[in-house]
């Protein structure tokens, strides 16, 4: 019987299925961070349990870490306690930690792929909804709550019901100035912030195939923003080239063996999906959001829909029917697990080189990991940013969710390459406009929402 990519991976991870209930799904890799793990460790200890498979867990500190002076003790007391709890818990339970100060530290969904921990065919979970990112490597990856973190620590398994499957095909060649971020913002704007709830999504089609791994990660990352449990993309030469030689990628004969196996990871020709959507790449323009969920997006040259939710528009201080282009912004945030990889920084630098930021904006660039930061320095990207007046900070989740000091002040507008524009997401009463790194870069230079196509 023909199978989907999802089913091929799912089926070989099912330990057993409870009659009329969920399946027991075996988890290959478990990423943990400081915010959603402490209660899970406490729960384990309360039950008198050890971590079942500590070598299948990778830990890092990212959500609440400061992005300046990381060599100093964390000033904010509660954050410091949480980060210290992760240090203590991982030490006690023999889990590898890439914490503050470690050359591999960074946003969990940046470091997993970057280190080659994330590999095709795996099941991967993390107490973070953007775990869907790892699906770019043909994995079943999804976010879980803390009780589930505890379950995986205790048994390396989760009880899961098989989701419905959706395939989204993006066919054709992307227009100039259009990036993978625009593809996913376009998809979410079309199917809404809840349009894929209950589904696991496979992205396919020639436009998806043309993307780098970084671009594919951006797309899978935001699957959750349309309600999907996760997103995934079949592996190809781009995937294999990315993985080969990475720290934890297989080597030698093991690499060859894995490669043969990974090449089988694709949906069979006649495989059935519960829903299938096809989008023409040519229809996609640079996108931006105007509202308070990621489905509220339009082309940068578009107008805010007349029927847009008035509560959202009141929060955003925007008018139905108005153009979004030309809207003055106060902050530009380039970072987050969506767009903080070296390719994103290179793209921004290539546009910004020889230009200066507008006087009315403050620009924060927060690399996704220490390795991204070091690579940027090696390539001289740090100097390009310094000359442009951008503030290159240290790795972490930063202003994506404003758990640390990096908050957008109340009422201010921020063009952000992150994934959520919810009320208060970037700080109480902060106003977020989600966009691609290129659209963020042009806003940094012009001080307003602009169309990158007029500049390149």
């Amino acid at each position: 019987m023909p199978k989907t990519l999802f089913e091929k991976i799912w089926d070989r991870h099912v330990v057993k299925t409870i009659e009329g209930g969920p399946s027991v799904l075996y988890i290959d890799k478990h990423f943990i961070h400081e915010v959603t793990s402490p209660q899970a460790f406490k729960g384990l200890e309360k039950r008198g349990l050890e971590v079942f498979r500590p070598k299948q867990i990778v830990a890092t500190a990212d959500h609440n870490v400061p992005t300046i002076d990381q060599h100093l003790p964390i000033k904010e007391e509660l954050s410091r306690i949480q980060v210290q709890a992760l240090v203590d818990n991982t030490k006690k339970h023999h889990i590898d930690l890439y914490g503050l100060g470690h050359p591999y530290q960074g946003i969990v969904h940046v470091i997993g792929p970057e280190l080659g921990v994330t590999q095709p065919g795996m099941t991967i979970v993390c107490g973070d909804s953007h775990t869907s990112t790892h699906g770019a490597f043909a994995t079943i990856s999804f976010g879980i709550g803390t009780s589930e973190v505890e379950m995986v620590m205790a048994t390396q398994c989760l009880l899961q019901s098989k989701p419905k499957l959706m395939r989204i095909n993006v066919e054709g060649t992307l227009n100039k100035g259009v990036t993978s971020k625009d593809i996913i913002l376009y998809i979410i704007a079309h199917i809404s912030a809840s349009g894929a709830t209950g589904y696991f999504v496979e992205y396919a089609g020639s436009a998806i195939r043309s993307l780098s791994m970084e671009g594919r990660m951006t797309i899978c990352n935001m699957s959750i923003e349309m309600g999907a449990r996760g997103g995934m993309i079949a592996p190809d030469q781009t995937t294999f080239d990315y993985l080969e030689g990475r720290e934890f990628a297989p080597e030698g004969a093991e690499w060859e063996k894995k490669l043969t196996e990974w090449k089988q990871l694709h949906s069979d020709e006649d495989a059935l999906f519960d829903k299938e959507i096809t989008i023409a790449a040519a229809d996609i323009e640079p996108m931006i959001t105007y509202g308070t969920n990621p489905g509220m997006g339009v082309s940068v040259t578009g107008r805010i829909p007349a029927e847009a939710d008035p509560k959202s528009l009141a929060y955003m201080g925007l008018q139905a029917g108005a153009a979004i282009k030309g809207k003055k912004v106060d902050y530009v945030f380039i970072g987050s697990c969506t767009n903080s990889r070296i390719e994103d920084l290179r793209l921004v630098a290539s546009f910004v080189k020889g230009r200066k930021k507008a006087d009315n904006v403050e620009v924060w660039v927060v690399p996704g990991s220490k390795q991204v930061e070091q690579q940027a320095i090696k390539e001289g990207i740090d100097k390009v940013f310094a000359e442009a007046g951008f503030n290159l900070r240290q790795p972490g989740c930063s202003a994506c969710l404003a758990m640390n000091e990096d908050k957008i002040p109340a009422g201010k507008y921020c063009i952000s390459t992150s994934n959520r524009n919810f009320e208060g997401r970037q700080g109480p009463n902060a106003r977020t406009l989600l966009a691609s790194p290129l659209t963020a870069a042009v806003a940094a230079i012009t001080g307003e929402v602009a169309d990158i196509r007029e500049f390149i």
């Binding site: 509660l78 976010g143 803390t146 959520r420």
Partner: protein
Amino acid sequence: MSKSINKITSTAVPIHLENIDTDQIIPARFLKATSRDGFGDNLFRDWRYNADGTPKKDFILNNPTYSGRILVAGKNFGCGSSREHAAWAIKDAGFDVVVSSFFADIFKNNALNNFLLPVTVSEEFLQQIFAAIEKDPKTNISVDLEAQTITLGGNITSFDINNYKKTCLLNGYDDIDYLLSIRPEIEAFEQKPQTIQ
């Protein structure tokens, strides 16, 4: 946390908004705890309190007219982050049931793992609940997990829940208890060669 749920009859607190995300339920800056307790104080923090900590009079949780163990909200409730703190905050604030026409997946799992029952009803039934409470804030709603029904006045409708989870909630079982009981099967599974079929 009360373990096990079956029959609940209570007045309800309605929040007539769609797409309520977990950043509204509990903003990220309040996730810096290492225990599961006390999150209820910050439930709907930025809708409930001004920047100076004084209550916002127009928010429903600050209106003594509305109270109860049932929270009623518009579709796509709990979208966004996987933070289980959202379920902890709702439970800690005294709710045992959330009624909506549509729940985000991760939130639903988190709720079930904390004996907070998510009840999915039709959009029409949801609107009837909102209308009934608007007319009379003392309207009682009854939820019967065993029978899988929700009753509003003379109006009764059924809701879905998978049998496994239902048994867990009725008896106070955790998923983790079950998974621990099959650890030998998990170990045997790990020994089997993994092939793609």
